[in-house]
């Protein structure tokens, strides 16, 4: 009987508490009392379960993890709510050059351009006949591209404020669009499970990348190989070799539909999210970098990363999670407030982006509003430490 208890205790300890940096308070109290009672002055109690070389290695790794304390970031707060759309706000993009305005696309088939500083409506663009699913503003051209469920991708001239080109060829709704940073190409993906590369100038589909088995959720372009990265509801992320027209690598780690991917603006790496699981990948080769602390986040609709290594994950149930990108540390988790006059169930983040400085976060939500989030002003590491750093051996930087 005694030995069974011991066995259970040991198992429980090894499985659950051994790798924790700080124990639950009640457990810590018990351990404190015991150590005081026995008179053994050992403060490091977490490692007594293991022995031998394997244990040593684990201990070393754990200590390394604890030593890599994540960089502190100020917490975020809601600063502005913008109403105006008549449907879900499905996509948002900030002008990358001057950082003066941002554009949102909605299920009400319109694109709206807003002033970033004041939040005032500057322009409403209509032309699509079904909901707008993604929008991208070019850094090199005065153009904006929008993808819609009406199977069209439109190119908007920002000097004339009209649609000047249609890219027609997807067999079903288009879910995502991205602009190649150096070539005059756009990549689109949609419900027909192919990624198409279009020549901006001639409106021809240059390449059709076949391989995904389910609708594509997000496409991203990078200047060097892999030049196109796409995620899909078939739970994979594919890195494409666009010259050969094949996928270089298929990342199959996720268990559920990958709803979003995001490129880091500085580091050449990629983050991908499925339900309860966010991971980042080193890019040319696509090897796993970090498991984020995202075990009970729920369905994640959107990811965005800024220059100071803050990664934002917006949940389908309205949960906002902020991660330190390098360590995968979840430092803040809050919930959006639904706009007055909307239902509680309309809490949900559909899309997000940081502005060019990374100081503002813009989210598009189910309650038809756009919300702008900022840092809490007078936050310091002392008064706003954030969620505790509890490194886990499964979540690590490889």
């Amino acid at each position: 009987m005694n030995s069974a208890d011991d066995l259970y205790r040991e198992l429980r300890w090894n499985n659950q508490f051994q790798v924790m940096g700080t124990l639950p308070r009640n457990l810590q109290q018990v351990i404190d009392e015991r150590t005081r009672g026995s008179g053994a002055g050992t403060t490091v109690v977490a490692y007594d379960g293991r022995s031998g070389e394997e244990g040593q290695a684990a201990v070393q790794r754990y200590q390394q993890l604890v030593a890599q304390k994540p960089q502190w970031h100020a917490p975020w707060r809601l600063s502005k709510v913008i109403n105006g759309h008549l449907g879900w706000v499905r996509c948002v993009a900030v002008e990358p050059v001057d950082n003066e305005w941002f554009v949102t696309g909605s299920n009400d088939t319109t694109l709206k351009v807003w002033d970033l500083a004041s939040g005032k409506l500057k322009l409403t663009l209509s032309g699509h006949t079904m909901g707008v699913r993604d929008v991208a503003v070019s850094e090199r051209h005065p153009y904006m591209f929008s993808a819609s469920e009406d199977k069209l991708v439109k190119c908007w001239d920002l000097e004339k404020n009209t649609a000047i080109r249609d890219y027609y060829g997807h067999l079903s709704g288009v879910h995502t669009v991205d602009i190649h940073p150096t070539l005059d190409l756009i990549a689109t993906g949609g419900r027909d499970a192919v990624v198409k590369l279009w020549d901006i100038r001639t409106r021809k589909a240059v390449k059709t990348l076949v391989g995904h088995k389910a609708p594509i959720t997000k496409v991203k372009c990078t200047p060097v190989d892999p030049q196109v990265v796409s995620s899909s509801t078939d739970t994979t992320v594919r890195l494409w070799d666009i010259v050969a027209g094949k996928s270089m690598k298929v990342l199959t780690h996720h268990k559920r539909a990958v709803r979003s991917i995001a490129l880091h603006p500085g580091e050449f790496s990629l983050a991908s999210a499925c339900t309860d699981d966010v991971r980042s990948w080193r890019l040319p080769e696509g090897s796993l970098l970090t498991n984020f602390q995202s075990q009970s986040t729920g369905v994640i609709n959107t990811l965005s990363i800024n220059d100071d290594n803050v990664m934002f994950a917006g949940g389908d149930n309205g949960v906002l999670s902020f991660y330190e990108y390098k360590s995968g540390h979840l430092y803040q988790q809050t919930s959006t407030q639904e706009v007055r006059g909307s239902l509680e169930s309309e809490r949900g983040v559909l899309t997000s982006t940081f502005d060019a400085t990374g100081l503002r976060l813009i989210t598009g939500e189910v309650d038809k509003s756009i919300k702008i989030w900022r840092h809490v002003e007078d936050a310091t590491e002392e008064n706003q430490p954030g969620l505790p750093w509890n490194p886990n051996l499964s979540g690590q930087r490889f």
């Binding site: 090199r140 192919v194 309650d367």
Partner: protein, 241 residues
Amino acid sequence: MIRVALQRTDTYKRSYMYANVKLYTHIYFFFPSALLIVEATSTRQNTVRIATMTTSHRPQLEARSGAKAANYVPTSTEHARLLPGHKTVKYRSSNRAKLESKSKNDPRSPKETHSVSNSVDSDEESGDPEAEADGLLDEEEEDSEDEDSEDEKEQFRQELIRLRQRQANITDNKQRTSTRINTDAEGESDTKKAGWRSKTVFGRKKSNSSNKKVTKTENAGYVNNMTKSNYHQNFLDKYVK
């Protein structure tokens, strides 16, 4: 004899296939996923309509392109802006030149437009920078401190006023957008006799209760859902009921 119409319930294409079969089991043999609907349209023959699921939900495993098909005939309609000759691409001029020209044209805009719009709070943009500089240069050195503090106070006051105005504008805008969504008609629901619709789950009762909660606040009457707005409910009452 049974006439079978195979209907693809695609949103865009609707094709009927007719086949003569003797038994329904044959149909199930050929189309196991088919939904069988028997329509007795005429006395002579029974029409069996089979609604198969479309394949548009399935992924496209073969890359297909309509233009390559043998019997593809391109339409003669051409969009005015999508002519085949329109193949020029515009590029952005360098950002710096653009910024400089902007600051020349508009002296009121501060020179560091970029950094201001980037910086944390754009509401705090100061007034006319040139005027300030002039004012400082004109003052004597001894007076400058007092004058400075006076100036600062003045500036702060003006800034505060400007902020308030801006806030007022923003709230105005918000109200305008919300009023565009729903025009309010208050108190009408009380006088009217409650219809059977008000007792249903999606009836007016719900919208009323949510409105009641809202009326306390300054953003009164804003309902996110257009079909739950008072305007729409009144419209339904008037014309549809």
